[in-house]
């Protein structure tokens, strides 16, 4: 690493994060399971086909429209499992609390966490609590690890995308990121937008059960948004993806906030959306199945995998031009000029 201290951008999920993992974290720990480098690791134990993942949550502010850090701590982890084609079963919960944090707020967070766990059908099976001195933490940091059981015959790794596949998005982009930013000090604005945080297993399970071989990739566009998620696909699968800007669903309020702050809605985080890449032959059925579920009502096909420009994610713009989408470098900074 050329930079010798950690920057906030190293946690942004973009190029800086990738390099931190590749250069500092992965080499000393290298093993075949870690080498999968997916949202969740596939492990087989005594014949059980498991998926294993962990995620930490440091969101600021802790509460935002539609949820809190507790909601995220469940959704983020169970969705990593679901996108691996695994039914989420158990979570562990690690808490780092800051001295002086109000217990009433902690109760709200844990209530959100419990509600989300119930909705996701998972049990919180073990936990740990540590307290740090006042001023050394952001109130509450959470970590959850999750374990799930993979559906047989299913593989949803990003490298599975094939030329000709349809790229389908389960709903509108950017709701979560903008709902959180709306509450941030210095940027605050009023909006009726709420986080889209939701567990996605029940949305994708019917697809996997009906088309186990034809669902090639599942991915949730969290940090770095749609752009980062699909750049992972083009890089891993060595093919290109062509998106149509006019088909990408974005709520007017998200567009408005992005206009105000100079953000790109395609790189804003989501916590309750799935990208489904599937064989063209089943695309219409997949769309119909997604739209049958409340979380997939706004599902729409946004593009196609192609062999024409390997490794490149290209957006056909609203006026018929083209623009290459590259993974965001780090945290996306609101800009004014």
């Amino acid at each position: 690493m050329s930079d010798d201290v950690i920057l906030l951008g190293h946690g942004g999920g973009g190029e800086l994060t990738r390099r931190l993992v590749a250069e500092v974290l992965a080499p000393p720990l290298a093993n075949p399971v870690l080498a999968q480098m997916d949202d969740a690791a596939e492990v087989d134990l005594d014949g059980a086909r498991l998926a294993l993942t962990t995620d930490s949550f440091v969101v600021d502010p802790l509460f935002f429209p539609g949820g809190s850090i507790g909601t995220l701590a469940v959704c983020g982890t169970v969705n990593d499992l679901a996108m691996q084609g695994a039914e989420p079963k158990y979570l562990t919960l690690g808490m780092i609390l800051e001295e002086g944090f109000p217990v009433a707020d902690l109760r709200r967070i844990v209530a959100d966490l419990a509600a989300a766990a119930k909705r996701a059908g998972v049990l919180v099976a073990a936990g740990d609590t540590k307290v740090v001195e006042r001023g050394k933490g952001g109130g509450v940091y959470l970590n959850t690890a999750g374990i799930g059981v993979r559906l047989p015959g299913v593989s949803t790794h990003v490298r599975n995308a094939q030329p000709g596949d349809a790229v389908i998005l389960s709903g509108t982009l950017g709701d979560h990121g903008i709902a959180v930013i709306s509450q941030r000090q210095g940027l605050s604005f009023e909006t009726t937008l709420e986080t889209d945080a939701a567990p996605l297993w029940e949305l994708v399970r019917p697809l996997l059960e009906r088309f186990p071989k034809d669902i090639h990739v599942l991915r949730d566009p969290t940090r770095g948004g749609l752009t980062a998620a699909l750049c992972d696909v083009t890089t891993a699968a060595g093919c290109g993806i062509r998106l149509h800007e006019k088909d990408i669903p974005i709520r007017p309020a998200v567009r408005g906030a992005c206009g105000l702050l100079g953000l790109d809605p395609l790189t804003v985080a989501n916590e309750g959306k799935a990208i489904v890449i599937c064989a063209e032959a089943v695309a219409a059925d997949v769309l119909a199945l997604l739209r049958d579920h409340p979380l997939g009502r706004d599902a729409v096909r946004i593009g196609t995998v192609t062999d024409k420009h390997p490794g490149l994610l290209i957006l056909e713009t609203g006026i018929g031009g083209e623009r290459i989408l590259l993974p965001p470098a780090g945290e996306d900074l609101p800009r004014i000029c």
Partner: protein
Amino acid sequence: MIPVREALEQIRAATVGLTERAQFMEVCGTHTAAFFRSGLRGLLPLNVRLLSGPGCPVCVTPVGFVDQAVALAQQKQAIITTFGDMLRVPGSDVSLEQARATGAAVRMVYSPEDALALAEKTPAREVVFLGVGFETTAPGVAWTIKEARRKNVRNFSVLCAHKTMPQAMRALLVAGDVRIHGFICPGHVSVITGAGLFSFIPKEYKIPCVVSGFEAGDLAAAVAMLLRQRNEGRAELEIQYRRCVYMEGSAPALALLDEVFEPADVAWRGLGVIPGSGLALRAEFAAWDAERKFPGLTLPAPREPAGCRCGDVLRGVCLPPDCPLFRRRCSPTTPVGSCMVSSEGACAAWFKYGGTMDGVEDNMRNPSAGG
């Protein structure tokens, strides 16, 4: 308003049989970003070439300004407040983002008023706002400074690097090292100053100017208007952005600028010191001028990164891919020059939206054929 498609047809018709490639400069960084983001740039015929100008405020801010801001945070324990774009601009030693990682207090704000509000909330700490931007941004900063005086907020100050557009454009024309057949003039600067600010260009230099809006339809129409002027042998100042630009500017905004600021000779990255091209706080506002308030900062010798051609890019002398560092040592993740930092910087725009490694320009026009 005409649809983009129609404007593109006009452009195509106007460029049939052009013997020399038409080179237009979009002065404003927001225009640069819009040309790329909308995909309009790639839809223009090959014999229309767009050059990016010195209208990206972050890009033209010299490295010494970042050094000053870092020093204020580190040596005076000031809270630095800034628009997001400045955070990653490399200083001689470190950027504000890197300084923040080692303990400096650096906060991003949406508006200068937010910085003043922070100062009122934290009376024990000095809050310094980084005043960067052109005529569009400076009036809001002027208002905020007046408000600080009215409320007698003594722990608020502005480190001022505001610049004004026309002198920089004149400097480009005087230097004459790039051939420009027309200017797409900044629309929102003109809202404040009035389009008349740019009338010296057609008058003295016989170069067509069109003040443009910021959507793809605006920009396509502006290019068509420049081509029409060129084909008809005219050099005039025209306004495409009629829905908010007039020959005269905004009287309240201009009054604010005049009351708080006075013209100053300031340095532009790539262009050097241009007389009268900056805005400095008038003496009566010295108490809110970070530079006067905190003399004697220890600053590193300003060091522009070796090999970086930001300066040439800002003058339109070269395109970003012509720089030896572009896509090699310099990327949005590890920016070497400021033009790679700002989302409006020409280098960042080329990197993000421009195309693949080789044959950038042709690839950009038709990426799917490039492979």
